[in-house]
C-alpha cells in the first residue's frame, strides 16, 4: 500500500496551471494575462513546495495524493511522488514562475502565457508520473507548445519536429517491445538500443544536438529555457531507460554525454551569439548530469542528483538573466563589449552568481554536488573525473567571458532606464538566496539526494546482473510480498502494461 500525502498536492499543482492556461486563453490583454499567469504559477509553486515538505516529513520513498481522484477513477496510482521527483517539482514550478514574473511588459504581447502554463502543467505531470506509457504520452504532449510558438513566429520547425518526432517514435517503439518482453532481463537488444537512442536525442548528446541550438535561435528565449531546464530528458532516462537498459546502454549514454560535456563547453567558448552560448553551456552541464547518473557509487550518484538540482536552478536563473538583458537591448552579440554593468548592476551580479554556481564555485549551491560528482568519478573511473574537471574549467572560462562581454568593456549609452524592474528584483533576491543558501547549508539537500541515490542503486543490479530465470509474475508477486518500497518503485515502472 503506497503511503498517502496529507493533501492532494500533486493533482492541485498539475491542475492549477492547467486551469490558468484556460483562463489566460480567454484573455486578450497581455498585461492581464501575465498577472493571471503569475497568480496561477505562484499557486502551483505553493502546492508543489507543500508536496515536497509534506513528503519530507513522511520518511518514505514513495507516496501518492490524499483524496486521489485519479486512483479512484482508474484504480491505479497515476501520479506519485518519490525521492527522485520530490524536489524536481518545486524546482520546475519555480522556474516557470520566475520566467512568467520576469517577462517585461514590452515582450508580454509576444510571449504566450497560456501556452507556458500548459507546458508547466505537462512538465509537473511528467515529473509526478512513473508509469512508462503515461510518461511517453506526456513527453509527446510537451513537444506541442514550443511547436505552436515556432509556427506563430513563422520560424522553421523542421529540425525540431524531425528530432522530436524521432524521439517519440523511438520511445514508443522501444517501450512497446519492452512491454511485450518477459521482463527487464529479457528486454530485446533492439528495444534497449531504441530507448538509448531516444535518451541521447532528448539529452542533446552530440551529434544529435542540433535541435537544441535551433530551438534556442528560433523560439522565444523563455519557451526554449523552460523546455530544457527542468531536464525532463534526464527524468525519462531514470524512469524509462535505467530500469530496462543493460549496462552497455547506460555506459554508452555516459561516455557520449561526457564527450558532449567537453565538446559543448568548448563550443560555448567560441560562440558569438548569446543564445547559442547559453544553449551549449546548458548542454555541457546537462551532459555532466547524465554522465553522473552512470556512476554507480552512492557518492557519485548523490553528486549527480545534487548537480541536477543545482544546474536546474543556477542555469535557469542564468538564462533568465540573459533573457532580461536581451529584452532590453535585443539579441546579444558576444563578439562585442556591451558595458551594461552601470545600467543593471543587479542583473550583472545575478548573472555572475548563477554562472559561478553552475560550475560549482565554492559557497554556491553547485559546489558540494560537483565535488561529490568528481569524487565519485575519480573513485570509479579516474579519467572520467578528470574530464569532468576539464569541462567545468572550460565552462568557467566561458561564463566569465560572457560576463565581461555583456557587462563590461565599454560605456553603454541608454536613453531609458535599464535597471531591474520590481518583479525582476524579487526573482534576483529569491534566486540569490537559494543559490547562496543551498551553498552555505548543503547538508539537507545532500542528505535527501543520498537517500534517492541509494534507492535508485537498489534498482540497478536487477538489470545489470541478470536475475535467475523465472516467470515474471513470480517476480512480481515476490516483490509485492516483500513489501519493500524500493521494489514497489520498480514494479510501478513495469506494472500496468497489459
Amino acid at each position: 500500500m503506497t503511503p498517502e500525502l496529507h493533501f492532494p498536492w500533486l493533482e492541485l499543482s498539475i491542475l492549477t496551471p492547467l486551469l490558468g492556461a484556460i483562463v489566460c486563453g480567454l484573455q486578450n490583454n497581455p498585461a492581464k494575462s501575465q498577472r493571471i499567469a503569475t497568480a496561477f504559477s505562484a499557486l502551483a509553486l505553493l502546492f508543489s513546495a507543500g508536496e515536497w515538505i509534506d513528503f519530507s516529513t513522511m520518511n518514505s520513498f514513495l507516496a501518492h495524493d490524499h483524496w486521489d481522484l485519479l486512483t479512484v477513477l482508474f484504480h491505479r496510482d497515476i501520479f506519485v511522488i518519490d525521492e527522485l521527483s520530490a524536489p524536481l517539482l518545486p524546482l520546475s514550478a519555480l522556474l516557470y514562475l520566475l520566467t512568467i514574473l520576469a517577462t517585461l511588459r514590452t515582450k508580454a504581447a509576444r510571449f504566450s502565457f497560456g501556452l507556458t502554463l500548459l507546458s508547466e502543467s505537462i512538465t509537473l505531470a511528467t515529473l509526478s508520473c512513473r508509469d512508462g506509457w503515461i510518461i511517453i504520452a506526456l513527453l509527446s504532449l510537451a513537444i506541442i507548445p514550443p511547436w505552436i510558438e515556432l509556427r506563430r513566429r513563422n520560424r522553421s520547425s523542421r529540425i525540431y519536429l524531425l528530432h522530436m518526432g524521432l524521439y517519440i517514435g523511438l520511445l514508443v517503439g522501444g517501450w512497446s517491445m519492452v512491454d511485450l518482453s518477459a521482463g527487464p532481463e529479457g528486454t530485446p537488444l533492439i528495444a534497449a538500443a531504441m530507448l538509448t537512442m531516444a535518451a541521447l536525442l532528448r539529452g542533446g548528446v552530440v551529434p544529435v544536438h542540433c535541435w537544441l541550438t535551433d530551438l534556442f535561435q528560433n523560439a522565444a528565449m523563455g519557451t526554449a529555457l523552460l523546455f530544457v531546464t527542468p531536464m525532463t530528458g534526464a527524468y525519462a532516462v531514470m524512469r524509462l531507460v535505467l530500469p530496462v537498459a543493460p549496462a552497455w546502454a547506460m555506459q554508452s549514454i555516459a561516455i557520449l554525454s561526457l564527450i558532449t560535456a567537453v565538446y559543448a563547453a568548448g563550443m560555448a567558448l567560441i560562440q558569438t551569439d548569446a543564445r547559442r552560448f547559453f544553449c551549449y553551456l546548458f548542454l555541457s552541464h546537462s551532459s555532466l548530469v547524465l554522465t553522473g547518473l552512470e556512476i554507480v557509487t552512492p557518492i557519485g550518484l548523490t553528486g549527480a542528483l545534487c548537480v541536477w538540482l543545482s544546474v536546474g536552478l543556477s542555469l535557469g536563473g542564468f538564462g533568465l538573466t540573459l533573457r532580461g538583458v536581451e529584452a532590453r537591448i535585443g539579441r546579444i552579440d558576444l563578439s562585442e563589449f556591451h558595458g551594461l554593468y552601470e545600467h543593471m548592476p543587479m542583473l550583472a551580479s545575478l548573472f555572475l552568481l548563477t554562472g559561478l554556481a553552475s560550475i560549482g564555485f565554492p559557497g554556491t549551491i553547485g559546489f558540494v554536488g560537483m565535488e561529490l560528482l568528481i569524487e565519485g568519478a575519480v573513485d570509479v573511473y579516474p579519467l572520467v573525473g578528470m574530464t569532468v574537471v576539464i569541462a567545468a574549467a572550460l565552462n568557467g572560462i566561458a561564463i566569465l567571458k560572457a560576463y565581461f562581454r555583456i557587462f563590461t568593456g565599454t560605456r553603454h549609452v541608454a536613453t531609458v532606464s535599464l535597471r531591474a524592474r520590481p518583479s525582476e528584483r524579487i526573482g534576483v533576491v529569491l534566486l540569490s538566496l537559494l543559490v547562496l543558501g543551498g551553498g552555505l547549508w548543503p547538508q539537507p539537500g545532500v542528505h535527501s539526494r543520498y537517500h534517492a541515490a541509494i534507492k535508485l542503486l537498489e534498482l540497478r543490479p536487477r538489470h545489470i546482473q541478470p536475475l535467475p530465470a523465472e516467470h515474471p509474475s513470480a517476480e512480481s508477486s515476490d516483490s509485492e510480498s516483500s513489501n519493500s518500497e524500493s521494489s514497489s518503485s520498480h514494479d510501478n515502472e513495469r506494472s500496468h502494461k497489459h
Binding site: G266, L394, I397
Partner: protein
C-alpha cells in the same frame, strides 16, 4: 578560548563579505565611511585574535592548534565527511598575520586612493572576497578548505584586474588571468581528489602523516607523491605565475594600484609557494618531484630576471621583480629550506607592498632623490652588458621584451588550435542545420581576435 579566537579569525572576514555582498545584491549603497570602518574593524578584530593565538602558542609552546567547526557535509553511511577544519601552526599563523597586516594597510590606503571612485564599493566587495579567500587558504586544515579559499582568491583577482571595466584591455587581461587560474585550479582539484582517494582523507594530518608542520611525513608512496605533487605544482605555478603561466602577471597590473600591491606583489602571488610549503612532506617523499620544483623555480628566475630588466613601466618592472623573488622562494622550498622560504615570503611581501604603493609617485621620488644628491643618478651598466656583444644583447633583449614568447607560444600551440577546431565544428553544425531547414544561418561567428593581439597593457592606475 582558543577555539573562539580561531573562529573570530575566520568569521571577521566572512562577516565583512556577507555585509558587502548582501548589500550589493539588495541594491543598498553603504556610505564610503561605513565601508572603510567595517573593513578596518574586520581586519583589527581578525588580527587581534590571530596575535592572541600566536601569543598562546609561544607561551605554551604548542605548535599545532586545530579548530574544527564540524562537518559541513557528511554522509555517515559512506564515511564521507566534508570537514571544515582550520589549523594554527608555524606556517599558517605567520601567513594569517601577514595577510591581515597587508590587507589592513591596503584597506586604509584604498579608502583614500579610491575616494569617490565609481567603483569604490565594488573594490571593497572584491577585497572582502580576497581577504576571506586568503584566510581560508592559510588556515585550511583540509585540502577541500584550501581549495575553497584558493577559488575565492582566484575570482577576486580576475575581477580586480578587470576593475576599470569600461575599457576593453583590463577586461581582456582579467579574462586571461581567470583562464590561467582555471587551468591551474583544474590541476589542483584533480590533485586534491586524487590525494583524497589515495589516503582516504582530505585532512592534512591524514595526508601528510603525523607531526606538526614542517615535520610531517607523507603517507603515500614516492610514485603517488610524484603524480600528485606534479598536479599541485601545476596549480602552484598558475597561482604564482611560474613558467609557463608567467604571462598573466604583467597583465594583472592593469588593476588599481592597491589591488596590484596586495595581490600580485604580496599575497596572491605567494599562494602557490604557500601551497608547496603546506604539502612539503610530499616533496620529501619524491626526489624527482623536488628536482622538478627546483628546475621550475630556476627557469622562472632566469626568465623573470631577464624580463624585469627591459620593462618600461614601473608596475611591470615590479611585477617581474616579484616573480624573481617568488621563484627563488620556490627553489628554497625545493631544496628543503622551509623556514627560510617562509621568512623570505614575509619579508618580500612587505617590501613589495611598499614599493607598489609608492609606484604612482615614482617620478616624484626619483626627482626628490636627484635633488638631494644634487646630480642625476649614475647610469650603472651591468657586467653582462659590458662583456656581451651587440648580437647577443639584442637577441636577449628581444627574448626579454617578448616575455620569453611564453604567451605567443601558448597562443600558437594551445589557444589558436583550440579555437580553430571548435570554429570548424561550429561551421559544420551550421551547414548541417542549414541543410535540414533549407535556409541559411543568420549569424555565423566572426573569427575571434588572436589572443596575442590583446596586449598586456599595464597602464593601470
Amino acid at each position: 578560548m582558543l577555539t573562539a579566537c580561531g573562529m573570530i579569525v575566520v568569521l571577521s572576514p566572512a562577516l565583512l563579505l556577507a555585509v558587502f555582498g548582501l548589500s550589493a545584491l539588495a541594491g543598498i549603497r553603504l556610505s564610503e565611511r561605513l565601508v572603510a570602518k567595517l573593513t578596518e574593524a574586520s581586519v583589527v578584530l581578525g588580527l587581534f585574535a590571530a596575535i592572541l593565538i600566536l601569543g598562546v602558542m609561544l607561551i605554551t609552546d604548542r605548535r599545532f592548534i586545530p579548530v574544527e567547526p564540524g562537518d559541513w557535509v557528511s554522509i555517515e553511511d559512506e564515511h564521507f565527511h566534508f570537514t571544515i577544519k582550520f589549523v594554527f601552526d608555524r606556517l599558517s599563523v605567520p601567513f594569517v598575520i601577514l595577510t591581515f597586516v597587508l590587507c589592513g594597510v591596503i584597506g586604509a590606503f584604498a579608502s583614500r586612493y579610491l575616494h569617490r571612485d565609481e567603483g569604490y564599493h565594488r573594490f571593497f566587495l572584491f577585497y572582502a572576497i580576497f581577504q576571506l579567500g586568503m584566510i581560508l587558504s592559510s588556515l585550511a586544515g583540509t585540502i577541500e578548505t584550501l581549495f575553497l579559499g584558493w577559488e575565492l582568491v582566484g575570482l577576486s583577482s580576475a575581477l580586480l584586474v578587470a576593475f576599470f571595466h569600461t575599457r576593453p584591455n583590463p577586461v581582456r587581461n582579467g579574462l586571461r588571468v581567470w583562464s590561467a587560474y582555471r587551468i591551474a585550479d583544474a590541476a589542483f582539484l584533480v590533485g586534491a581528489l586524487t590525494l583524497h582517494h589515495m589516503t582516504g582523507a582530505g585532512d592534512f594530518e591524514g595526508l601528510m602523516g603525523s607531526g606538526p608542520w614542517p615535520e610531517g611525513r607523507a603517507s603515500v608512496t614516492d610514485q603517488q607523491a610524484l603524480y600528485v605533487g606534479l598536479l599541485l605544482l601545476g596549480a602552484a605555478a598558475g597561482k604564482s605565475a611560474l613558467i609557463p603561466f608567467s604571462g598573466w602577471l604583467p597583465r594583472a597590473m592593469e588593476g588599481p594600484t592597491p589591488s596590484s600591491a596586495v595581490f600580485y606583489g604580496a599575497l596572491s602571488v605567494h599562494l602557490g609557494a604557500f601551497l608547496l610549503l603546506r604539502v612539503s612532506p610530499l616533496l620529501e617523499a619524491s626526489l624527482p618531484l623536488r628536482v622538478t620544483v627546483i628546475a621550475l623555480g630556476l627557469a622562472t628566475v632566469v626568465f623573470a630576471t631577464m624580463t624585469a630588466r627591459v620593462q618600461t613601466d614601473v608596475k611591470s618592472a615590479l611585477a617581474f621583480a616579484s616573480l624573481i623573488q617568488v621563484s627563488i622562494i620556490v627553489v628554497e622550498i625545493g631544496l628543503g629550506f622551509r623556514y627560510i622560504a617562509l621568512s623570505h615570503i614575509i619579508g618580500h611581501a612587505c617590501l613589495r607592498t611598499l614599493q607598489l604603493l609608492r609606484a604612482p609617485s615614482l617620478l616624484k621620488d626619483h626627482h626628490a632623490l636627484e635633488n638631494a644628491l644634487g646630480q642625476h643618478l649614475p647610469d650603472q651598466r651591468g657586467l653582462l652588458r659590458r662583456l656581451s656583444g651587440d648580437k647577443l644583447r639584442i637577441s636577449a633583449w628581444r627574448f626579454a621584451s617578448e616575455r620569453g614568447y611564453l604567451d605567443a607560444m601558448l597562443d600558437a600551440y594551445l589557444v589558436r588550435p583550440f579555437i580553430a577546431v571548435f570554429m570548424w565544428s561550429d561551421r559544420m553544425e551550421r551547414r548541417w542545420t542549414d541543410f535540414l531547414t533549407g535556409q541559411t544561418s543568420t549569424s555565423a561567428p566572426a573569427p575571434a581576435p588572436a589572443p596575442s593581439q590583446q596586449t598586456p597593457n599595464t597602464n593601470g592606475q
